[in-house]
């Protein structure tokens, strides 16, 4: 293979890396007042990556760098959505970070490196590439959480995130090494073939699988490996929380599906059992604990735990349909979570974080439009039609029932009923209670506009969910399980 055929599929990653370095240096020459230039450069980089990703798209699955890297429809779709999510995150957080003095070049470059990590995770076809992407992402995120140096909470969150994240990486690596020992390969396809051939030591494989699944569970933040999630979500500045809570979920979906489906599909009856336990425990603990929260960011953290559990339901039901619904769930979740955190940032102002539930009291009287958008987002998270959150839950439940686990669908449904309560409480606070503060809300900004698009998107996708569903299903179908 000549150099170009190798480089082409990874064009977007290369461009991203180059631009991140260029912006890092260019930013040194820009004064704080001209930071908007850096911001525009970052947005342009994301746009450029999107164009390259679309431009280098080829039908079918293309492998590069000795099968370490894969470019398929799923990776292209997920990458495009990742750029979109990161770009939205930047728009939402610009004003928020500016008034806090955090709107720096480092923040934006770290966001680009995090994006690069996600892109590598999405396109990895090899344990080492997967690990590389994961670490690029994680290290950028640790640094971003710690960016607010003078905040004790943020520093504590960064510390917890780092230590637990390192532990998870260790678990994952340990598991990978066992799989390597058993199969003699690090490439996902070869691992799968080796397991299928029956030559690999079954005990060693299952043992390694346990570690790998634990590591994945840590990164996804599902019970019982969820301890870091609430603290990090709560402690980090909201812009960072938004980044952690949005795009990486797409990468995490790709990560889980590459490892479990492409690499370890022959062990499906082993890992699907583990996922059932993880999913039920996450939905139960996430939904029940969220009720007791008074801080919205913590509440959303527990809600993430529950949502990730729900997403795993799609994975464990096995079969290509299930993976497609899981991806759809992840995409929808990212959209909703961006909106919810965006709302917190929009309501925050200098020296004030609108992150407790009481800050949402009487929002309908302060700004009916924002209250309506938040209502859409909350009902969507609760899975109430006509919002898109319903179809996410619906399609996952459908694949669970198709796989023959009707009881699991009933359990999931009952647990999401508990979840509905705390989302409903936000709506209650906004509409039924009197406001505590009458501070004006800056509704003329670009982030308010984006929030309107985001909130209405949740409704419109709910009225016409077919296209996004098909995109997810088709891209999974054309990408996974080909060998």
């Amino acid at each position: 293979m000549d150099l170009m055929t190798n480089l082409m599929p990874a064009g977007a990653e290369i461009f991203m890396l180059v631009m991140a370095c260029v912006i890092l240096i260019a930013d040194l020459l820009i004064k704080q007042s001209g930071r908007l230039v850096t911001y525009m450069l970052v947005q342009l980089t994301l746009l450029g990556c999107a164009l390259i990703t679309v431009g280098t798209h080829e039908s079918g699955v293309v492998y590069a760098f000795n099968n370490m890297f894969v470019d398929d429809l799923m990776s292209d779709v997920l990458k495009l959505l990742t750029y979109l999510a990161v770009s939205m995150m930047l728009v939402y957080s610009r004003l928020y970070l500016t008034v806090r003095g955090l709107f720096s070049g480092e923040f934006m470059v770290l966001a680009l490196f995090a994006t690069l990590g996600m892109m590598v995770m999405i396109s990895a076809n090899h344990f080492l590439t997967l690990y590389l992407g994961l670490e690029v992402l994680s290290l950028s995120l640790y640094a971003m959480v710690a960016l607010q140096r003078d905040s004790a909470v943020a520093t504590e969150a960064a510390m917890k995130y780092f230590i637990l994240g390192a532990l998870a990486s260790g678990l994952l690596l340990y598991g990978m090494s066992m799989l390597y020992g058993a199969t003699g390969s690090l490439e996902l396809g070869a691992v799968s073939d080796a397991i299928k051939s029956g030559a690999a030591d079954k005990n060693l494989l299952v043992f390694g699988l346990v570690f790998v699944v634990s590591g994945l569970a840590f990164k996804l933040g599902v019970v019982p490996f969820h301890m870091w999630v609430p603290d990090v979500y709560h402690g980090a500045p909201t812009a960072m929380t938004m980044l952690i809570g949005s795009a990486p979920k797409l990468a995490a979906f790709a990560f889980v599906s590459r490892i479990l489906v492409e690499g370890l599909q022959p062990l499906v009856q082993h890992w699907s059992g583990m996922l059932i336990i993880l999913a039920i425990a996450s939905m139960a603990l996430g939904n029940i604990t969220a009720i007791a929260q008074t801080n919205l960011k913590r509440m959303l953290a527990y809600s993430t735990i529950a949502h990730m559990g729900f997403m795993l339901l799609g994975m464990l039901s096995g079969g290509i349909e299930g993976y497609g619904t899981s991806m759809f769930y992840a995409v929808v979740y990212v959209l909703m979570s961006l909106g919810a955190f965006g709302m917190i940032m929009l309501l925050s102002r200098e020296g004030f974080e609108a992150d407790t539930l009481n800050d949402f009291k009487g929002l309908n009287q302060r700004s009916p439009w924002l209250a309506f958008l938040m209502l859409l987002l909350m009902f969507s998270m609760a899975g109430v039609p006509p919002t898109v959150g319903f179809y996410a839950k619906f399609s996952v439940l459908n694949s669970v029932v198709q796989a023959g686990h009707v009881w699991l669908a009933v359990v999931a449904v009952l647990l999401s009923l508990i979840g509905a309560f705390y989302y409903l409480r936000i709506v209650k606070l906004m509409y039924f209670d009197a406001p505590e503060s009458h501070a004006p809300i800056n509704v003329g900004s670009d982030s308010a506009f984006l929030l309107s698009v985001n909130g209405l998107g949740v409704l419109l996708l709910g009225l016409l969910p077919g296209t996004l569903m098909s995109v997810c299903a088709v891209s999974v179908q054309q990408s996974l399980l080909l060998h």
Binding site: V384, N398, A409, V413, L414, L424, Y431, F432, G466, M469
Partner: protein, 496 residues
């Protein structure tokens, strides 16, 4: 299709579009505009449903005015609408009540008028969607969406304990719906990949599956009806809701649950329906008798009418599960009549509440002296609630009792006690509120009905009397569909 217009879609979306327009009028300074838009939208919304009745072909049980478009291709979900003899009257009933509710809230609602009016219009469109959806997921979407405006109506414009009532209402109904969703998905997989309700009717199912599905549907529909013992949300919701909310709740939303039994539970799981009919009849009779007695004890007028609604809805479910034409047609007529009567009674209580800000029976007495016209209307609706011959309340109850006698004399006997209890609690309340000496200075200052209120009550009085004296226009339209449903339900769907 009439004049090339898909009538059902227009009936659904016209009020919703008006609702959005009303929201766009913004704050309370534009309240007069919001009110007028709401009235125009709701009246137009009613007018467009009239062709459904006029153009309805009486001698077929097929779905009519059908609209079928692809919606979500991956799951074979369609935008599939249509009406048959069972659903068509409820579409009209829904559209009929919206202008009345708008008028009832004309002056009383002073804060956030646009949001109030918009909620009712959007809810009206969505409820028509529930009655006309022929695709189960479309049905489910409408079914759940219906909760959101009602939740806001109770919670924003309701009484002192409104938050508790709103959340209770929402969670109760959501519990039932979610189980139904699992049942629908299961049926989708059994029917070979279709979500069409009419396809579900044909799926053969073993007894265990039928019973489980029946129970899942039961949770969804029984909560809405509401049947004993899952009725406890209703008195709270009714008491706390503003007048308009109570009217829609009683007149339409309760009917949605009963409609679900006819459209889903009975035809999809006929064997389970027969198997569990005894339990259903028992629960219905408990509702009729026990809840009737509970109503007797109430000191709050709205609570009293709320319990009376539960008791009357017990009649409806009784009529369904005795599986004969008298019972089922009687139950359907009872549903429509109860819509008029309960709606009217809540409006009556609203009239008093607007003037006195009390729903307590003990605060009243001698209202007839100050509000004679009101007292006359109230009398008519109270008598209809009792089931006096000549009013709409009589027709349905009589037919259900007649149907019950054919099955078991004691069912009919227990059901017929409602004629006594119903008379007792309704007339006793009427006596304490309306008759007697003027109880206090507040009552002495009451003013009689305004022109707007007279108009609302006149329309309702015409319906109540008209339906009581000449019920044929209501019953003939449902004959064929009801008979067809009974034939379908009598056939076993167990796999051979």
């Amino acid at each position: 299709m009439i004049f090339g217009l898909p009538i059902i879609s227009v009936a659904i979306w016209l009020p919703i579009i008006f609702g959005i327009l009303i929201l766009a009028t913004g704050g309370d300074k534009n309240a007069p505009l919001a009110r007028i838009l709401a009235l125009v939208g709701s009246v137009l919304g009613f007018l467009v449903t009239i062709p459904l009745y006029a153009g309805f072909v009486r001698d077929t049980s097929e779905m009519q005015f059908v609209e079928l478009h692809d919606w979500i291709a991956r799951f074979n979900i369609h935008y599939h609408l249509g009406v048959d003899g069972i659903s068509v009257l409820f579409v009209l009933l829904t559209a009929f009540f919206t202008p009345l509710v708008v008028l009832a809230g004309w002056q009383v609602i002073e804060k956030r008028v646009a949001q109030y009016m918009a909620s009712f219009l959007i809810m009206s469109g969505v409820m028509i969607g529930v009655f006309t959806a022929l695709d189960s997921i479309l049905f489910y979407v409408f079914w759940e969406t219906m909760l959101i405006p009602m939740f806001l109506i109770i919670g924003v414009w309701g009484g002192p304990n409104r938050v508790y009532a709103a959340v209770k209402f929402f969670l109760y109904t959501l519990l039932g719906s979610l189980l139904m969703l699992v049942a629908l998905i299961y049926l989708f997989n059994q029917s070979g990949g279709s979500f069409a309700i009419l396809d579900f009717h044909k799926v053969a199912l073993p007894m265990t599956a039928q019973i489980l599905i029946f129970i899942a549907f039961f949770f969804a529909f029984a909560v809405k009806v509401p049947m004993f013992p899952v009725h406890t949300w209703l008195p709270d919701a009714h008491v706390e809701a503003p007048t308009g909310g109570s009217v829609v709740l009683a007149a339409i939303m309760l009917k949605v649950g009963a409609y679900g039994f006819l459209r889903f539970s009975m035809p999809i799981t006929p064997d389970a329906s027969h198997q569990l009919a005894g339990a259903m009849i028992a629960l219905s009779l408990i509702a009729v008798v026990y809840i009737g007695l509970v109503a007797l004890m109430q000191t709050d007028m709205k609570k009293l009418v709320a319990y009376s609604s539960i008791s009357h809805m017990g009649f409806v479910t009784l009529g369904f599960f005795i599986f004969n034409a008298y019972g089922m047609e009687g139950a359907l007529l009872q549903m429509i009549s109860h819509g008029f009567v309960a709606g009217a009674l809540f409006l009556c209580i609203g009239v008093l509440y607007d003037r006195m800000h009390s729903r307590n029976i003990a605060d009243y007495g001698g209202v007839a002296n100050t509000m004679p016209i009101f007292a006359a209307f109230f009398m008519l609706f109270a008598m209809a609630n009792v089931g006096l011959p000549g009013t709409s309340g009589f027709v349905g109850e009589f037919m259900v009792v007649l149907g019950a006698v054919k099955v078991n004399f004691w069912y009919a006997f227990a059901a017929a006690t409602t004629l006594i209890f119903g008379a007792a609690y309704t007339l006793w309340m009427y006596k304490r509120v309306i008759f007697g000496a003027v109880a206090n200075s507040h009552v002495a200052e009451l003013t009689d009905l305004t022109l707007r209120e007279k108009m609302i009550f006149s329309v309702l009085a015409i319906m109540v009397l008209g339906m009581g004296l000449y019920p044929l226009p209501f019953s003939e339209i449902m004959h064929v569909s009801v008979n067809d449903l009974l034939v379908h339900v009598a056939r076993s769907k167990l796999p051979l």
